[in-house]
Amino acid sequence: MKSILEIESNKKVKIISIAGGKGVRRGLAQMGVGIGSVVIIKRNAPFAGPLVIENHGTSIAIGRGVANKIMVEEV
């Protein structure tokens, strides 16, 4: 289990847990991203801006602060 920040671009991961506030979890859930979701990391440039993940064809930018709290497992 790693933070999603540590995953390279173009890898597929399964979300294990999302720490942090209610607002963030719900915001992600509205885009269909929650515990158990399998998403693709589209863009992850270390130290440079947010991550972009793809979930069922929707691209979502996630700030690094939020991303740090998302624990994933590579699949």
Binding site: Q30, P50, V52, T58, R64, G65
Partner: protein, 642 residues
């Protein structure tokens, strides 16, 4: 009869609204732009319907103010029909909202919009099967090309007039979750009085979602007892699904949506998408910023070069009329002052404001509709973090370049009060199109577009510092950014035209009369020699800044509308050739002052509504001091440069 247009951000909802309602609303690629409801009357088969365009929303929960208001107004607003606009290329993600809408119990017609985009992505939707699954009539549309929109409204009329049998149903969850919902619903039925506007099942689901507003609505009436039951049932869901109570229901809806999606969609091979390749460059960690700067520079040069040619042409004509004025009226009479100042207001609007405003608005609309702005938010996230905010806060800030009023309203998409306050302050410091007119008309015109660009850069630096200081003063961990990056879209010529026209119309109807009236008032003040008194009162300020005494009055009028400051400046100094009266140093100092000092009255009003009177007053004092300090610094430094 009332029809609600509801859909997720970027679903093309406002495009459909524009197609039938004419020049009444604005569409945009940024989530939450249409924070105001826009209403219009629509004639269908001889009957007039009221059409309400709702802000784009992902769900009806109260995650943020904008979403919460949609849900509340939908239920309490007495609607006869909901038209649910769905981006067909994002069907899976769009259906959860449809499922929520079904819970309200108002008849629904679904528009599967951007069906062409879906087939490009290789998504083939079995519309008949989807109609069966949801029990609602469906029409496929391509709103940007006006395909299927007419049919959509014919379908809507048929449903309202009950020509079609309504087979709408509520989609049930899986049995274990469904049992919990039913248990909750029973409690709601027992404890919540019948006068509650919310359908019991809808309320039950919202309570299970741990939705703050609906929870306080329910517990406020029934105290601890129902609160305990809610928590107990929430925990039951948590143990069933192993997900936190705040997102378990939302994700459950997504699971159902994906289930429907998998049944009705056949995914073929997508056509090669060139847009992915574009994003590799546009969102690149170095190239992205380079492109950002190139796009902005092109934008400024484009607007300026186009505007300057037209301005010069129009101004020559205007000056001629103005110079001939003494031949027709007795100079220095009251009538002469009245005509002259009125003409100045009219001519200023045509010759100075419109030449820049029109290309500026077209450019901004183009950037919005292509979908570039969310990419700006992406690129700026790291920067925004430095100043204690996150990328989503860039949304109000970027909107501010058009007009500060909707920008301040856009803070509603932010979840925390602290982020709202800081973003509102930042948004109202962004040079809006009115202030841009001053920057273009003075700086770009007399010093060149590069220096105008530098004013914007300078403004961003100051805003960043302000944001940094505010976030140090108000330490709080902000929840962070979760923002959809929509695909690029080809802007439709028709939509751009309508949107630009809509905004220009706003200038003509609202701002221009103020400009003319302001000019006439200034003319009258001049005639009765009151201007001198005002200038005298403000002379300490103008003297410190090294500005001509005559500009004092224009600073006051600029509070009404920022363009007014420019028109008044030319009027006060008696020529449109500003450089003949003011030095370059003075022009720069004046522009910097106008750019930074207090927001216009309309922005103040909306600030009071969104963040409260005390924050508005704070901003008033703060920007006044800031503008003085900055323009003074520029004035002193300018002595070395200009």
């Amino acid at each position: 009869m009332r029809i609600a247009l509801v859909g997720q951000p970027n679903s093309g909802k406002s495009t459909i609204f524009n197609a039938v309602a004419g020049y009444k609303s604005a569409t945009s690629n940024l989530p939450g732009t249409t924070v105001k409801y826009t209403e219009s009357k629509v004639r269908l088969n001889g009957k007039v319907y009221e059409l309400v365009d709702f802000p784009g929303t992902y769900s009806l929960s109260s995650t943020n103010e904008a979403e919460f208001e949609v849900g509340k107004y939908l239920i309490e607003g007495d609607f006869d029909l909901i038209i649910n606009i769905i981006d067909a290329s994002q069907l899976g993600r769009s259906l959860p909202l449809t499922l929520e809408l079904l819970e309200i119990g108002i008849p629904i017609v679904v528009a599967l919009n951007m069906i062409d985009e879906a087939s490009r992505k290789g998504i083939e939707i079995n519309v008949d099967l989807l109609t069966n699954q949801l029990g609602v009539p469906i029409q496929t549309t391509i709103a940007s090309k006006n395909i299927g929109v007419r049919e959509l409204f014919i379908l809507a009329r048929k449903v309202i007039e009950a020509e079609l049998p309504i087979r709408q149903k509520k989609i049930k969850c899986q049995r274990d979750v469904e049992e919990v919902i039913e248990e909750m619903e029973e409690v709601v039925n027992q404890k919540i009085p019948l006068s509650s506007p919310y359908p019991p099942r809808f309320l039950a689901i919202k309570l299970l979602e741990d939705d703050d507003y609906y929870r306080s609505f329910a517990t406020g009436r029934n105290g601890v007892h129902i609160s305990n039951t809610i928590s107990k049932l929430q925990m039951k869901l948590v143990s069933l699904r192993g997900k936190p109570q705040d997102s378990v229901m939302v994700l459950e809806r997504h699971a159902i949506a994906m289930d429907i999606y998998n049944q009705v969609v056949k995914v073929g091979t997508p056509q090669k998408d060139w847009r992915e390749i574009i994003d590799n460059v546009v969102m690149h960690k170095y190239a992205g910023y380079f492109i950002l700067i190139v796009i902005l520079l092109t934008f400024f040069y484009g607007v300026f070069e186009l505007g300057a040619v037209i301005e010069e042409f129009l101004l020559t004509g205007f000056e001629q009329v103005n110079n001939n004025l003494p031949q027709y009226f007795i100079p220095d009479s009251l009538l002469f002052y009245f005509i002259k100042s009125g003409l100045w207001g009219i001519g200023g609007g045509v010759a100075i404001v419109l030449p820049y405003l029109i290309p500026f608005l077209i450019g901004l609309t183009l950037l919005e509709d292509i979908g570039y702005l969310p990419r700006v938010a992406y690129l700026m996230d790291a920067f925004m973090h430095r100043i204690g905010l996150h990328g989503t806060s860039i949304v109000p800030a970027v909107l501010g370049y058009g007009c500060n009023v909707p920008a301040v309203m856009a803070i509603r998409i932010l979840p925390s009060r602290r982020d709202k306050i800081i973003s509102a302050i930042i948004a109202s410091m962004v040079p809006c199109s009115a202030r841009s007119i001053v920057i273009f008309g003075l700086i770009a015109f007399y010093l060149g577009p590069f220096w105008a660009f530098m004013i914007y850069v300078f403004n961003i630096v100051i805003i960043a510092l302000t944001g940094k200081i505010l976030s140090i003063l108000m330490p709080e961990i902000s929840p962070g950014m979760v923002l959809e990056i929509p695909p690029y879209r080809f802007p439709s010529f028709q939509v751009i035209r309508k949107k630009t026209w809509f905004r220009i119309k706003e200038f003509i109807m609202v701002a221009w009369p103020i400009l003319i009236l302001g000019s006439i008032i200034l003319g009258m003040l001049e005639y009765f020699n009151i201007v001198e008194i005002i200038d005298q009162v403000l002379s300490p300020l103008t003297a410190i800044l090294g500005l001509p005494v005559a500009v004092g009055t224009t600073l006051i009028f600029g509070v009404l509308r920022k363009e007014l400051a420019l028109i008044m400046l030319t009027q006060a100094i008696g020529t449109t050739n500003v450089a003949s009266v003011m030095s370059i140093n003075q022009i720069v100092t004046f522009t910097v002052f106008i750019t930074f000092y207090i927001p216009c009255v309309a922005t103040m009003a909306v600030l009071v509504r969104e963040v409260g009177k005390s924050w508005m007053l704070f901003l008033l004092v703060f920007t006044l001091i800031l503008a003085t300090v900055l323009s003074l610094t520029i004035h002193i430094l300018g002595n070395f440069f200009f």
